[in-house]
Symmetry: C2
Subunit: 363 residues, 2 copies
DNA sequence: ACCTAGATTTAGACCCATCCAAAAAATCTC
DNA sequence: GAGATTTTTTGGATGGGTCTAAATCTAGGT
């Protein structure tokens, strides 16, 4: 119907699929040459390049990455598997990943394992079928260590993020949770606390172990033998329940450190429920330093783990691994920083003026 | 090196790429037949199917979706473009999308436009190159309406989510924000408020317009002429600033409704900063009902917009559109529900026992 | 035993780019 | 200006599936 004039619409209306062949014909060169132009090869003469580029624009050509991937070796895609995308922490992390990938023309598949190894397994298989160039994996709780070997057999590069399973060497990006908890303990001890409990974590994965290690080691360093570590789920509800149980014990702690901020929020609500004032009757410290920490009452002191930065590092690591599949494995471990607010009792929660400060958001 | 025995490792070690051809040879059938088996075609005889499946398992075959997509018409992938993945609201929405897609063996690319139309444009082009079957788009603020037409010219099905631009008919999944704000106004009026302000929104997109409309219409319905609508950004900081400005006016409102929960949190902090008690000196209602609403002090009353459900609906809509590209466009508009807590003054915030109730999280 | 409708299977073109080796064109050297 | 280089360009094979139309096989009917 449409006349075959040479504006871009004509082509796109015809079928929507202009191929290299069409460009080649239009520009009077071969398919191979067009391919070289597309990939910005320096082999092509300047005049030819311009001519071809003009044809590309004129015909409204769209590169077919799928076809390219079939012959070439890269798909320019990555698989990201997290276990709780609804958690703001992961939101920030994914944003970090995204930011790095886009600069490299990469796109990522995102899937949410909900901490189910079975779902995680399905996702990984699907990613494999899609021939992603690499995987960013936050292993679901209960992930078998040999999963990492399996991925290796699949020749699918994998960067573990936040948690890790299996034996080194592997690629990993995360935070030094042990050090983070140590900082929290040190801070509380400096404030005079002697009886400090740790809340949360149950499965045997690295991120949990590291926290526990930091807790016990720091307590030992200070000669404090009265340790109390509750294994629980990682939800707000779990924090709430745990603090109730803890306060009901013969010698309740004067401070608690929580596996993550959600639990800490729950713990603070639990304290209030008991008529206790977080930060005064019992200090509370969380982990992650999500944006909402400034919102709670009192504002939550938290070990900042910089999710956006972790995401960036993980993505960079993956890109490096793709470029050099056999290079030495790397572990990027960022240092956490204790973000002191009110819930640890360092500040008086009587005035609300402190709230105003950490308000700035990054958008 | 490895003997060519028939266990699965042999094949995967050889090269990692077993093809249909290999399966066909091993099973003594043709490539076509294997392809039919893979796609669960009813044409294949039961005995043949079993034989082929055995070979598939024996050789450790991995389906190559890229190759399939090249000849076939579906890639089994979807593109999701959001504007703020770090916002918990989107986390929940993405989880909803993911849940539906996985059941259909679909995987989705996720990109974060950060509300930049330019970035958004780049993402869409990249998705097109990857030949996604459809796009789920939460349009960035400032998106040109003709973008939707462009996508149509590209023959790329697009479901708009939460916000929409351009002229109907289009596919859309979201919430009836107008009704949500109406509910909030009605509730406040029932509590005796006469002077109610609305905070937030600046760009001209559907989600903002709908809220404003709801606000003005509901106020008019009650014969309240003293309206006040502040155009601001949508951040916590903006809420904080806005409430300060508002309270400084000659006749400050006794209640404010906020464009989203983040702003409402900011507004509550602002009130505290002024020495005012949210829920008593000034009622505050947010929108979205993110999980953190239960955390604030007082707990935030909010218009629940069910992000997980919206995500599910959007994904379902996209799958329907893929199956039937020329069917009638659909608009799925969920009904919001006012989730009453303390910040609107309906309950006494004196006791903290209320906090315990809405604690349950869904993980 | 012969014919036919229906059930299975298959060959071979096709999708669209990349890769390689070799051809063609341009430039240089003496 | 012939031969040696260097720079550009190209044909044709290739990757791993799907599709269509035609071939082959089966069981049922007479």
């Amino acid at each position: 119907m449409a006349q075959d004039n040479d504006n871009s619409q004509a082509a796109s209306l015809r079928d929507g699929s202009v191929t290299l062949q069409d460009i080649a014909a239009h520009a009077g060169v071969s398919r191979s040459t067009v391919s070289l132009v597309l990939r910005e090869s320096p082999l092509v003469a300047e005049r030819t390049r311009e001519k071809v580029q003009a044809s590309i624009k004129a015909l409204g050509y769209v590169y077919n990455r799928g076809a390219a991937a079939l012959r070439g070796s890269r798909t320019q895609t990555l698989g990201v598997v997290v276990y709780d995308i609804a958690n703001p922490f992961f939101g920030a992390m994914v944003a970090g990943i995204d930011a790095v990938l886009n600069r490299q023309n990469y796109v990522s598949f995102l899937t949410n394992s909900e901490d189910s190894p079975a779902r995680q397994q399905r996702f990984l298989e699907r990613m494999r079928e899609h021939r992603v160039d690499a995987i960013l994996l936050c292993p679901a709780e209960g992930t078998e260590p040999q999963l990492i070997e399996t991925l290796q057999e699949w020749r699918l590069p994998c960067v573990q993020v936040l948690r890790h399973v299996g034996q080194p060497p592997f690629d990993y990006a995360g935070t030094d949770f042990e050090q983070g908890v140590r900082q929290a303990v040190n801070h509380l001890v400096a404030l005079g606390h002697r009886h400090i409990a740790f809340l949360g974590g149950q499965a045997e994965h690295s991120a949990t172990r590291a926290r526990w290690q930091g807790y016990f080691a720091a307590m030992a360093d200070h000669g404090l033998e009265q340790t109390r570590c509750l294994r629980t789920a990682l939800t707000r509800q779990a924090g709430f329940d745990a603090i109730l149980a803890l306060m009901d014990e013969p010698t309740p702690p004067t401070a608690v450190i929580c596996h993550n901020d959600l639990m800490a929020f729950g713990a603070m609500l639990g304290l209030k429920r008991l008529g206790l004032r977080p930060g005064i009757d019992c200090a509370v410290i969380g982990t992650d330093d999500v944006e909402e920490t400034a919102l709670s009452d009192p504002a939550l002191t938290s070990v900042a783990t910089h999710p956006h930065a972790i995401g960036e590092e993980a993505a960079r690591l993956a890109l490096r691994r793709i470029a050099n599949p056999d290079g030495a494995r790397e572990q990027v471990v960022l240092s956490p920083r204790l973000q002191v607010r009110e819930s640890c009792g360092a500040h008086r929660p009587s005035t609300h003026s402190r709230h105003a400060k950490p308000l700035v958001t990054q958008d």
